[in-house]
C-alpha cells in the first residue's frame, strides 16, 4: 500500500517535472509585466479623470436688460455625471485588484509555479473585472460622446465647445481605460493559454 502510494507520488512528481517546462517562464514574466501595466493604466485614468474639473467665466446677457453683459462663472466637474462617478469607482477597483494580483504573480514568478486552482480563479476574476472595466469605458464613452457632439433630437447641447480642458481630460481618461480593458483581454488570453499548456498529454 505504502509502496503504491510512494509510486503514485513519484509518478505525480514525474508528471509535474515533465509538465513544468511546458509552461515557460516567459509566461510568468509577461503576466507580471501586464499586471503592472494594468495597474498603471487604472491609476492614470483615475487621476486624469479626477483632475478634470474646469472653472470658466462666460459673458451672458442679463435677463432683465439683454444689451448689457454680465460675467458668470461656471464649474464643470466630473462628479456631476453619474457615469463618470461609476467610471472612477470601477477603475479604482481595477487598480486595487491589479495590485493584489501583481503581488500574487510576483510570488508565483519567484516560486516558479502557481497552483492550478488559484490560476483558474484568477482567470475568472479577471474576466469579471474585464466586464466591469469595459462597462465603465462604455458608460464614460457614451456620455463623453454626448458632450462632444450633443444630440439635436433630445435637445441636449454639446458642452465641449465651452470646456476644453475638461473634455480633453475625459477623452484621455477614456482612451487609457480602453487600453486597460485590452490589457485585461491579453491577461486572460495569456493565462488561459498557460492553463491549457499545463494539461498533461
Amino acid at each position: 500500500m505504502g509502496e503504491t502510494e510512494t509510486q503514485a507520488v513519484l509518478h505525480h512528481g514525474e508528471k509535474r517535472a515533465t509538465a513544468a517546462p511546458e509552461a515557460p517562464r516567459s509566461f510568468a514574466v509577461a503576466d507580471v509585466v501586464l499586471r503592472f501595466l494594468l495597474f498603471a493604466a487604472a491609476v492614470i485614468s483615475v487621476l486624469v479623470m479626477v483632475t478634470s474639473n474646469e472653472k470658466k467665466t462666460f459673458s451672458v446677457p442679463l435677463p432683465t436688460n439683454p444689451i448689457t453683459l454680465t460675467e458668470v462663472t461656471r464649474t464643470s466637474k466630473w462628479r456631476y455625471s453619474p457615469a463618470f462617478v461609476y467610471f472612477v469607482v470601477a477603475l479604482s477597483v481595477a487598480g486595487i485588484y491589479s495590485i493584489i494580483t501583481f503581488l500574487l504573480a510576483l510570488l508565483a514568478l519567484m516560486k516558479r509555479s502557481m497552483p492550478t486552482k488559484l490560476l483558474s480563479h484568477i482567470i475568472i476574476m479577471d474576466v469579471l473585472l474585464l466586464g466591469i472595466v469595459s462597462a465603465a469605458t462604455g458608460t464614460a464613452g457614451a456620455v463623453g460622446y454626448l458632450g462632444l457632439k450633443g444630440n439635436t433630437h433630445t435637445s441636449w447641447a454639446k458642452i465641449c465647445n465651452r470646456y476644453h480642458k475638461f473634455c480633453r481630460h475625459i477623452g484621455g481618461s477614456i482612451v487609457v481605460s480602453l487600453i486597460a480593458s485590452v490589457i485585461l483581454v491579453f491577461l486572460v488570453l495569456l493565462n488561459i493559454y498557460a492553463l491549457s499548456k499545463r494539461i498533461p498529454k
Binding site: S81, A136, G138, A140, T154
Partner: protein, 187 residues
Amino acid sequence: MEVENGGNKEVVVANKRSFRCSDLVLRFLALALTLVAAIVLGVNKETKNVSMEILPKLSPLTVPVTAKWHYLSAFVYLVVVDSIACAYAAISLVITLANRGNKKGLTLLIMISDLIMVGLLFSGGGAATAVGLIGYEGNTHLRWNKVCNIFDRYCHQVAASLFLSLLGATIFLVMVSLSTLNLAKKH
C-alpha cells in the same frame, strides 16, 4: 489494467458531456436573449402629441414628436453589439455541436471569442445605460432635460432591452468561467 483504463476513460467522457450540455444550454440562452434584446431595441419608436406654447396669448399648439431608437448613438452601438453577439452565439453553437472530438485549439478559440463578447456586450450595456439614465433623470448641471416623462413606452422598451442584453453578457461571462474550470479540471 485495461478495465481501469476503460473506467478512467468513461469518467472523463461523462465529465465532458455534463459540461458540454450546460454549455449548449447557456449558448442557446445567450442567443435568444441577445436576439430579443436587439429586436426590442431595434423596433423602438414612439410618436406623441406634445402641446407647445409659442406665445403666451395664443392657444398652445399640438405638435407630434417622434422618438426613434437610432437618434442616440449609444443605442445604435448596443443594437450592433447585440446582433454581433447573437450571430456569434449561433455560429459557436454549431461549432460546439460539430466539435465532438473536443479539439483543444477550437475550444480555446471559442473561449477567446466568448471573452471578446463579454467585453463588447458589457461596454454596449454600459453605454446604453448611461444614456438611458440621462434620459430618465436628466442632468441639471449640463441642462440636459429628461425625455422619459414624455415617452413612457420608449423608455420602458429601452430598459427591457438593457436588462436582456446585460443578462446575455452575464451568461457569456458564466460560459467563460465554466470552460476555465473545465480546463483546470483536466489538469
